[in-house]
């Protein structure tokens, strides 16, 4: 069991910290069911690459594996910190939760932010200044993002559906992209790498558009060739060729 753990996910992987080269940054949001494994792995990865990033879960409750499949550990979103989950599970059964990698995961998460947040409770556009200590919080103080990346198709469905319900009062476009990742530590690592690659590709295109000399514009004609929003499907298509095991879906929605 020990050797499996050493290979296992999170903390052991080098953070992939990049030096910040400044420049334009797209704002990202990662989403999975419980805001614990997949979305947090990619949250950490994007934050380490200096992207502004926040993360959410679309489930009704945070569910972590328990001693058996019928006995999950269930927590409230927005009310339970990763730290308290860590301490509780550590006290409950240190061996079990070390062996299944849960403690390792929670240990990583509590260094990233306070606790799991629920997508449906997120008040888009409300300032997030109180999250200043979260990793990746710099740049998302305004409480909006440019790109939402979900890690499972039903999370994507939940996000798009929720945006229908909100009635798009902010008039702000947002690209919602699903990257299908199986919910285990190993796949989350792979998925995290894929998401970072996607983020890099998108950001490159967005930065290119902004760097064009403003005098080159003639109200759209030549500029449309380099327009970021228009290039998104192309970028995803190219990315999909590089990451065939992570099927993607995309839409342009509104906050």
């Amino acid at each position: 069991m020990a050797q499996i753990q050493s290979k296992g996910a999170n903390g052991t992987a080098p953070g992939g910290q990049r030096t910040d080269e400044g420049g334009f940054k797209l704002k990202f949001c990662t989403v999975c069911a419980s805001n614990n494994n997949r979305s947090m792995e990619s949250h950490l990865r994007l934050a380490a690459a200096n992207y502004p990033v926040i993360s959410f879960g679309t489930g009704s409750l945070v569910r972590l594996p328990g001693p058996s499949i019928t006995q999950p550990n269930v927590y409230q979103f927005n009310k339970t910190s990763y730290d308290s989950m860590y301490k509780e599970l550590d006290a409950k059964d240190h061996r079990l939760y070390t062996a299944n990698g849960i403690l390792n995961m929670l240990g990583r998460n509590r260094d990233v932010k306070w606790g799991p947040e629920r997508w449906q409770d997120w008040r888009v556009g409300v300032p997030r200044l109180e999250h200043a200590k979260d990793q990746g919080s710099q740049g998302v103080e305004g409480g909006v993002v440019d790109v939402v990346i979900t890690c499972e198709e039903r999370c994507w469905d939940a996000v798009v559906d929720d945006l229908f319900n909100r009635g798009s009062p902010l008039n702000r476009p947002v690209h919602v992209i699903n990257v299908d990742i199986k919910d285990n530590h190993e796949e989350a690592l792979v998925g995290g790498r894929g998401i970072l690659d996607l983020a890099d590709s998108l950001n490159k295109a967005a930065a290119e558009e902004r760097n064009l000399s403003p005098t080159a514009f003639d109200s759209g004609h030549t500029a449309s060739r380099a327009n970021f929003d228009e290039r998104v499907p192309e970028i995803i298509g190219e990315w999909q060729e590089r990451w065939p095991s992570l099927p993607a879906v995309w839409t342009l929605a509104w906050f």
């Binding site: 069991m1 499996i4 296992g8 489930g59 009704s60 569910r63 972590l64 594996p65 499949i69 999950p72 062996a99 299944n100 990698g101 888009v124 556009g125 200044l129 103080e141 305004g142 909006v144 198709e153 469905d157 798009v160 559906d161 945006l163 229908f164 319900n165 009635g167 798009s168 009062p169 902010l170 008039n171 702000r172 476009p173 199986k182 919910d183 285990n184 530590h185 558009e209 403003p214 514009f217 003639d218 109200s219 759209g220 449309s224 327009n227 970021f228 929003d229 228009e230 499907p233 192309e234 995803i236 298509g237 190219e238 999909q240 065939p244 993607a248 995309w250 839409t251 342009l252 509104w254």
Partner: protein
């Protein structure tokens, strides 16, 4: 060239600080916005010497800030309404500049979409403000002009702007401030004689804009960004503007998002087609989920199912990719043949069926036949010699490959059993999601979703179906939900208390009935669900529910001062007591109603058996004790209480007497007693005794008490005269 006082970076840093300030406290927006506007001025008046690129940077920041400000849910709509008036001119200048930067234009159009309803509302209420409306009209005209030619990022924002205009300029649900948004803006709010706004023209404009939005679905080549942008903005129109919902849905139902899916598909086209199909489907599913009775529900359902099928056909080979690679364990006969040099005679494939999930016997593990009859045959019945003979002759004739295949099959069975255990132990690949999370996800609502899920599962399932690896013994057996753990008395009491609290909550919210209707004697109690009924219910719950079940302390009948057991009834009584005392002047009728119930129940209990626990007396005294300290000299409430409660005891009268210690209350106490004397003949004597006691005890009360006694107690006047002479000698004058 002179260097600007501040570099662009420094300037933006300062602007960011200002932004942090308003993000922290939205009240500063007015000041900060006024300060920021000159800095981000499109003409660049503040720093004419700044480079063009620097000016663009500042304008980008500024336009972005405006978009954020007018989208922010933390800024009140009323506040935005005033703020938007001061930025209109700047927005107009920016958007009318033909060489303006795309990012700036994009933010300006977003801002315009956010403020359009605000300006519209402002004009409805301030019809004199022609210049504001003209500015807004100019911005609108410009946005509608660049809609077709601008870059995609700007065009999608134009679509959103048009959606806002349509929303504002169509009739919405009746403006009911209690429901929905108090800042709701729609055509119904425009007065018919408005000097600037003509509802008929506005409606026609909205209708035209909607048609223009929907025309994207009729184009032969669809740009996914724009189609998605339209689809995702239509939901609110369908929901809140029913009169245009059918028009929108009919257009979408005639849209084929898969029409561009002709081979060969580039990766980009694949993403676009998939996206349009999925977004269309999700929108339609949402419409049906929201209103399953809508007239188009059937057509929508058909459309969704048809899309699902076509999509699966088109993307079939693509989704197949997901299956894990075929196991290459060298046991596959087909592969082995390719590797071996000379091709041997084809060997009939020997199939070893995999084990079903669950525990198995050794015999089952090694049984390779599928013949049920053979399986049932018990070999141990045979003679040992015979078995050996059969065995040897079979081995001689048996093809080596067939044997190998059989052994391989058994080995695979072993492996699969081992794999089951391994899977449990590998933390890196163990599934983390507890996929029971169906609360808001409704897979069975739609047949279509179901099919999709099944397909998804099939996609990711191993392509070799025989290899069944299942967790041991997961088959559903008959499962009986264990009964909940028994609750302790305390828990029961606690929950009971909770219920009672809620009933009181209900009572407090119910208004007092405006006028009481006399229902007559034969009415049924608690049948009209008003406050009185709840009172009836709660008092009867208190008095009757456990009557006769209470334990007696020893054999003392009326337990007066002993510790009261915390039963449900007593909890309710306690709550009632508090409820009455909270506002006893208004709730005295409740107290009387309750005490009548108590009294009645006590009588019933006494009739039923000798050993009843009596409550009435105890609670009368308690209520009275609660009221007395707060009484005012002119309160009628005491008189009313004493005259309405069903029975009076000496103890109660004792409390009333004690009231006279306070000279201010003498009158009240005596009037109440006089009322009893006059109106309740059965207690007349007792009440008069009380008055006499008062006369005896409290000097302040003597004059009035004497007056009453003279009138009501025969012979008192004489006694008084006799006594008066004695008293006169003591120097106390008693006027009669």
């Amino acid at each position: 060239m002179a260097t600007p006082a501040l570099s662009v970076e420094q300037q933006i840093k300062l602007l960011e600080d200002a932004r942090t300030l308003v993000l922290n406290d939205a009240n500063y927006y007015q000041q900060i916005l006024q300060g920021i506007l000159p800095i981000i001025d499109p003409v660049g008046r503040a720093e004419p010497q700044r480079s063009e690129a620097g000016k663009v940077e500042l304008r980008r920041w500024g336009a972005d800030f405006l978009a954020e400000t007018f989208a922010s849910p933390s800024v009140q709509a009323q506040q935005k309404e005033t703020l938007c008036l001061i930025i209109l001119e700047m927005l107009k200048t920016m958007i009318e500049n033909p060489s303006e930067d795309n990012a700036v234009i994009k933010s300006v159009v977003q801002t315009a979409a956010s403020i359009y309803p605000l300006v519209f509302r402002w004009i409805i209420n301030n019809s004199y403000d022609t210049s504001t409306w003209e500015r807004m009209q100019a911005i609108k005209t410009r946005i509608l002009r660049i809609w077709d030619t601008a870059a995609a990022g700007v065009r999608m924002c134009c679509i959103k702007f048009a959606q806002r205009v349509v929303l504002a300029q169509t009739v919405g649900p009746d403006a009911d401030p209690r429901r929905g948004d108090p800042m709701e803006v729609n055509l119904g709010m425009v007065p018919l004689n408005h000097p600037l706004l003509t509802p008929r023209n506005l409606e026609a404009e909205a209708s035209g804009l909607l048609d223009r939005m929907l025309s994207i679905f009729q184009e032969s080549i669809s740009d996914a960004v724009l189609v998605d942008a339209t689809l995702n903005s239509l939901s609110i129109l369908i929901r809140t503007r029913p009169q245009v919902a059918n028009r929108i849905l009919n257009v979408i139902l005639n849209f084929n998002p898969l029409k561009q899916a002709n081979s060969p598909m580039t990766p980009k086209l694949r993403v676009m087609v998939k996206s349009m199909e999925k977004t269309t489907r999700l929108l339609l599913v949402d419409v049906n989920k929201r209103d399953p009775q809508n007239p188009l529900a059937g057509r929508i359902q058909q459309y969704v199912e048809r899309m699902m099928r076509s999509r699966n056909e088109i993307f079939d080979e693509a989704s197949r990719k997901r299956g894990p690679p075929e196991p290459t364990n060298g046991l596959d006969a087909a592969k082995r043949q390719k590797l071996g040099g000379p091709v041997p005679a084809p060997v009939p494939k020997f199939h070893v069926p995999p084990l079903a999930p669950g525990p198995h016997t050794i015999a089952q593990l090694f049984t390779v036949t599928t013949d049920e009859g053979l399986k049932a045959f018990d070999v141990s019945l045979l003679n040992e010699d015979l078995v050996v003979k059969i065995g040897i002759s079979i081995l001689q004739k048996l093809n080596a490959d067939t044997l190998k295949q059989a052994v391989g099959g058994i080995r695979q069975r072993y492996d699969s059993l081992k794999a089951v255990q391994l899977e449990v132990l590998n933390p890196a690949t163990a599934p983390l999601g507890i996929e029971e999370d169906d609360d808001e996800y409704e897979p069975d609502f739609y047949g279509a979703e179901d099919t999709e899920q099944i397909l998804n599962k099939l996609d990711s399932a191993p392509s070799i179906v025989e290899k069944v690896i299942e967790a041991p013994d997961m088959a559903p057996t008959s499962f009986v939900l264990p009964p909940p753990p028994a609750m302790t008395t305390e828990e029961v009491a606690q929950i009971g208390q909770g219920t009672v609290t809620r009933v009181f909550g209900v009572m407090q919210t119910l208004e007092e009935p405006a006028k009481k209707t006399k229902a007559g004697l034969n009415r049924l109690a608690a049948s009209s669900c008003d406050r009185d009924d709840w009172i009836t219910i709660i008092t009867r719950l208190a008095t009757r529910s456990v009557a006769g079940l209470e334990e007696l302390d020893g054999n003392i009948k009326p337990e007066v001062n002993s510790v009261v057991p915390a039963s449900l009834s007593n909890t309710i009584r306690e709550s009632l007591h508090l409820y009455v005392l909270e506002d006893f002047r208004k709730r005295i009728d409740i107290a009387v109603a309750w005490l009548c119930e108590e009294w009645y129940n006590d009588k019933v209990q006494m009739k039923l058996g000798e050993e009843a626990v009596l409550h009435y007396e105890r609670w009368v005294v308690k209520v009275l004790d609660g009221i007395l300290p707060y009484l005012d000299g002119r309160d009628k409430v005491l008189t009313r209480f004493l005259s309405e409660i069903p029975s009076l005891s000496l103890e109660v009268l004792g409390r009333v007497k004690a009231l006279c210690r306070d000279p201010a209350m003498v009158n009240l106490a005596l009037t109440s007693l006089l009322y009893l004397v006059m109106m309740r003949p059965p207690v007349r004597e007792v009440a008069l005794d009380a008055v006499e006691d008062i006369w005896d005890t409290y000097d302040d009360a003597k004059p009035i008490a004497a007056k009453y006694l003279t009138k009501w107690r025969p012979g008192f006047a004489e006694r008084l005269k006799e006594g008066g002479e004695e008293k006169k000698t003591n120097g106390v004058a008693v006027p009669v």
